[in-house]
Subunit: 198 residues, 2 copies
């Protein structure tokens, strides 16, 4: 199982989403839509072995965590606008401690970024933090039967405190490229590394 | 220099683009927008050493070839809607034999898919055809100072005749993954291979 989590510092936390302005007033929701695309869409197929979390810290009601479960997703198309419509539905529900399903495979809850990561750590998953200054990809060995959580930042980054937290829990800091890449592009690269193990 | 070309079998060939329906009535224009994103966007930067061509064969006026030149692009944002607006402007111009610039770094002309590929071949570029059934990536050697053209298909593929043409001109058929990937995801993987040579 491959899981991804992004800290979305500015992403909106209610359903007031202007579909004509995903980057601006919705707090870079376009990036989240592309992350969902990267996480799940194959040509004529979907990745059922993947879960993607977006922890939104934008106004007016942070945090809201969205969870996308590949094995349950239905009717989602790969384009940003279609994905944004599903995110809008999820954010229209009042988020509470418990996961609430809005449409098939898409859930929301009121959880913090660190809570999700700690939960995955306690489940025994191997935690990677993707960062330009991490150790190069070639220094790591991946096994096909391992369970992974990959931690991603948005255009702002996850911040010093969360970086320290990741270090404390033993997250492995990995660099996929000598260039600074968008989170959605990193997801593509991670999938490819794991696909080619098979 | 890295160049990419996609044969977009259904992509619209005039400016009548419904921004609320890029996948349907515009003939998978959403995919082209994501290809432009993948070809050029880095976090807080753009790839200036890349050119991307989309050869549109949809109604009403096929073919129209769009050319995006990384070193000249200005004001384009990474989201699909913003890129689609620039494509709309380019397709509003009547395409002729000569390249016509619509906005900075974006050109259109009335050229065929094979014409562009042959032009690049004659310029001495190494031509790769990305395909699930190609030889695996590990079988190839890339050099940092080579010039490349990577040929991509859309959800329909490039068709038997164009596949034969590519074979005749000595294109190298390469597979990046054991899974069938979207063209925009392939662009990310190609960039990463070449970035890591440096």
């Amino acid at each position: 199982m491959k899981e991804f989590i992004i800290k979305a510092n500015k992403a909106v936390t209610n359903g007031e989403i202007n579909l004509k302005d995903l980057p601006g007033s919705s707090g870079r929701l376009d990036l989240l839509c592309r992350c969902v695309n990267s996480a799940f869409f194959l040509s004529h197929d979907m990745r059922r072995d993947t879960i993607f979390y977006s922890v939104n810290y934008g106004d007016p009601n942070p945090p809201v965590t969205l969870k996308f479960v590949g094995s349950e997703l239905k009717r989602v198309s790969p384009d940003e606008r279609s994905i944004a419509l599903f995110i809008k539905k999820a954010l229209e529900k009042d988020a509470t401690e418990l996961w609430k399903e809005s449409t098939s495979g898409i859930y929301s809850s009121k959880r913090e970024f660190r809570d999700i990561i700690l939960e995955k750590k306690n489940e025994g998953k191997r935690i990677f933090y993707l960062h330009l200054n991490g150790k190069p990809l070639e220094d790591f060995e991946f096994k096909d039967d391992e369970d992974f959580l990959f931690v991603l930042g948005d255009h702002i980054g996850i911040g010093d405190e969360d970086e320290e937290f990741l270090e404390e829990i033993g997250a492995e800091k990995i660099s996929l490229s000598p260039l600074e890449l968008h989170a959605d592009h990193c997801i593509i690269l991670v999938h490819n590394i794991l696909d080619r193990l098979k």
